[in-house]
Amino acid sequence: MMKKLGRRFYLFLIILFLYAPIGTLMVLSFNDSRTSVKWGGFSLKWYQRLFENDTILAALGNTLLIAVLSAAIATLLGTSASIAIHHMKKRRQSICMSIVNIPMLNAEIVTGIAFMLLFISAGNLLSIFGIHFEMGFGTVLIGHITFNLPYVVLSVMPKLKQLNISMYEAALDLGAGEGQAFFRVVLPDIMPGVLSGFLLSFTMSLDDFVITHFVKGLGADTLSTLIYSELRKGIKPEMYALSTIMFLAVFLVLVFVNLNPREQSAAYRH
C-alpha cells in the first residue's frame, strides 16, 4: 500500500514538474498586472487585446499555416518514402533510414545553419541569373517539411512491418488492381500510423524555434520567433493568453479523440 502511494506521489511530482510552467502561464494570462511577478487581480483584458494585436495574429497565422502545410506534405512524402524503403533490399533500406533520421538525430542548430547556408548560397547563385530569392515563408516551410519527415517515417514504418502481406495479396486475389488494393486495403491498415505521423509533424512544427530562427530571413515570423524577438522588451501577456487558448483547445481535442476510440476506427474505415 505504501509502495503504491509512493509510486503515485512520484508520478504526481514529475507531472507537477512538467505542467507547473504551463499552469503558471495560464495564471499569468489572467493577471491584470503587466509584470509577471505581481498578481494584480483577475482580468480578461489580455484575451481582448490579443484579438487586436495584428503582429501576434499574423505570426499565429504563419505558424498554423506552416504547421498544416509542412505536416501534410511531410506525411505524403514520408508515407510514400516509407513504402518505397520498406520494399528495398536490406542494405539500401538501412542507408535510406539513416538519411531519413539525420534531421531528427542531428542537432537542431546544425540543421538550422546548414539550411541557412544552403538558402543563402542558392539566393546568390540565382541572383546571377537575375532571379530574386531570399529566405522567408517558403524556406521555413522547406525546413519544417524536412525535419518532420523522420517522424512520419518512424510512425508509418512499424505499421508497414505489421501489415499482413497476405492482406494485400488477398485483395489482388479478389480482383483488385495494385492501386485499388493499396487504397482500399493497405492504406486503411496503416492509417493510424499515417495519422499519428501527421499529428506528430504538426506538433513538432508548431513547437519549433531553432530551425525557423535560422531560415526565416527577414519576414515570416512564427509565434516562436516573435517571442524570441520580444525577449528583451519583455513578453507581451497577450502571448500567454494565446498559448493558453491553444493549449486548452488541443487538450480538449485530444481528450475527445482519446475518449472515442470507436469513432476513430470508424473514421479510418471510410
Binding site: 495479396e169 488477398a170 489482388l172 486475389d173 480482383g175 483488385a176 486495403v185 491498415d189 476506427s265
Partner: protein, 357 residues
C-alpha cells in the same frame, strides 16, 4: 483422363540460388479435392502461389482452360485463395470483407447482398454481417475467409494450410465442413498441407512433394497402402522401413529371414526397401510366427497399444489392440499382402512419373 482444368508445365522456381521447384509437371481436373502434401520447404506453397499468380515461375507455363496465364496478375485470374492466416481486412466488417471482390467487379447491390447471405449460410455463420473480424474466433475467421473467396465463383479455390492455426478438435470439424462445401460448390479445391492425416481425410487425390519434386500422385488409399518410395512411406503414417533383398518373385529376405510377399518383377537378388505398417505386424506365441523377438517398449495410445519388438537385432514398430508386456517373448508374422516392396531410390530427390490424376 477427364477435363484438364489447370496444367503446370515444366515449372521451375529459384530463390536465392536454391531451386525450390524443378521442372514440375502437374495437372488438375474439375470438381476434385486435390492436396499438395509435403514437409515444409518441399515447394508446395510455392506451387500454390504460382497458381494464384503471386509468384512468377522462372521457367515453365501455367495453363488455365487451355489458356496460358503464366504472366497474368492475380486479380485477373479465375482462382481465389484462402490464406494461411486468413488475411481478413481488419478495418472492414464481415459483410464488407465478403463484398470486397464483388464490389471491385462492379456487381449490383442486391446481387452482393444475396451473395453475402448465401456465403454466410454456406459457412454456417448467418447473421455475422456486422461483426468485425477480430471479434471472431480463429475457426470463424477461417470460414469467413472461405466465404470471401467463394462468392466470386472461382473455378478453383486455393487453400494454403487453412487449418494450421486451429486446434485439433476444430481442425477435424473443419475437415468435414470443407468436404461438404466442396461438394456443394462443385469446384476444384487445391489444398496445401503438411498434415498427412488432413490430406488422407479430405482428398480425392494427393500429390506428395519433397525438395521441389513430386514423389507420388494417387488416391489416399494408393498413397497409404502402396507408397512408391521410402520418403512417401515414412512421411505418410508410421511405418517400418527395412532394407531387404528380393530373392525372386514373391520372396523377400529381411535381416536374413525369408518373408513371402506378393510383389513381382523386381528380378533376382535385388536390394529393395521393404515397408511394413505397424498395424500389419501380427504378434503371437514364441515360435508361432516367422521370427521371434522380445517386447522392449510399450505405450498405451487409446485405441491400441504401440509396442517395439526387438527381432533380428532390429526394432519393429507394432500396433495391436492386445497388450504384450515389456520383456515378453513373442513371434512376428506378416500377411504377404501387407508387405510393400519398393525400389531403392537412386537419389534422395528422385522424381516420380507424372501419373494420370
Amino acid at each position: 483422363m477427364g477435363n484438364k482444368l489447370i496444367e503446370l508445365q515444366h515449372i521451375s522456381k529459384i530463390y536465392d540460388g536454391h531451386k525450390v521447384l524443378d521442372d514440375l509437371n502437374l495437372y488438375f481436373n474439375e470438381n476434385k479435392f486435390l492436396t499438395l502434401l509435403g514437409p515444409s520447404g518441399c515447394g508446395k506453397t510455392t506451387t500454390l502461389r504460382i497458381l494464384g499468380g503471386f509468384e512468377m515461375p522462372d521457367e515453365g507455363h501455367v495453363i488455365f482452360s487451355g489458356e496460358d496465364i503464366t504472366s497474368l496478375p492475380p486479380n485477373k485470374r479465375q482462382l481465389n485463395t484462402v490464406f494461411q492466416k486468413y488475411a481478413l481486412f481488419t478495418h472492414m466488417n464481415i459483410a464488407e470483407n465478403i463484398a470486397f471482390g464483388l464490389k471491385i467487379s462492379g456487381k449490383s447491390k442486391t446481387y452482393i447482398e444475396d451473395k453475402i447471405k448465401y456465403a454466410l449460410k454456406l459457412v454456417n455463420l448467418d447473421g455475422y454481417e456486422k461483426r468485425m473480424p477480430d471479434s471472431l474466433s480463429g475457426g470463424q475467421q477461417q470460414r469467413i475467409a472461405i466465404a470471401r473467396a467463394i462468392v466470386n465463383e472461382p473455378k478453383v479455390l486455393l487453400l494454403d494450410e487453412p487449418l494450421g492455426a486451429l486446434d485439433l478438435k476444430l481442425r477435424q470439424e473443419m475437415q468435414y465442413e470443407l468436404i461438404r462445401m466442396k461438394n456443394e460448390l462443385g469446384i476444384t479445391f487445391i489444398y496445401v498441407t503438411h498434415d498427412q492425416e488432413e490430406a488422407l481425410t479430405m482428398s480425392d487425390t494427393i500429390v506428395v512433394m519433397n525438395q521441389g519434386y513430386i514423389q507420388q500422385i494417387g488416391t489416399p488409399e494408393d498413397i497409404y497402402n502402396e507408397p512408391t518410395n521410402a520418403f512417401v512411406a515414412d512421411f505418410i503414417g508410421d511405418s517400418n522401413i527395412f532394407p531387404g533383398i528380393m530373392l525372386e518373385d514373391k520372396v523377400v529376405e529381411i535381416f536374413g529371414v525369408i518373408f513371402p510377399c506378393v510383389d513381382t518383377g523386381f528380378g533376382h537378388n535385388r536390394p529393395v526397401d521393404v515397408v511394413i505398417r505397424p498395424e500389419d505386424v501380427e504378434l503371437g506365441a514364441p515360435g508361432a510366427g516367422t521370427v521371434d523377438g522380445v517386447v522392449s517398449h510399450l505405450i498405451f495410445k487409446g485405441v491400441h497399444y504401440e509396442m517395439e519388438v526387438t527381432a533380428c537385432g532390429q526394432e519393429w514398430l507394432v500396433q495391436s489392440t492386445r497388450m504384450y508386456p515389456v520383456g515378453e517373448h513373442v513371434s512376428i508374422s506378416v500377411d504377404p499382402f501387407n508387405i510393400q516392396i519398393m525400389n531403392k531410390p537412386e537419389s534422395e530427390d528422385e522424381e516420380a512419373v507424372v501419373l494420370d490424376v
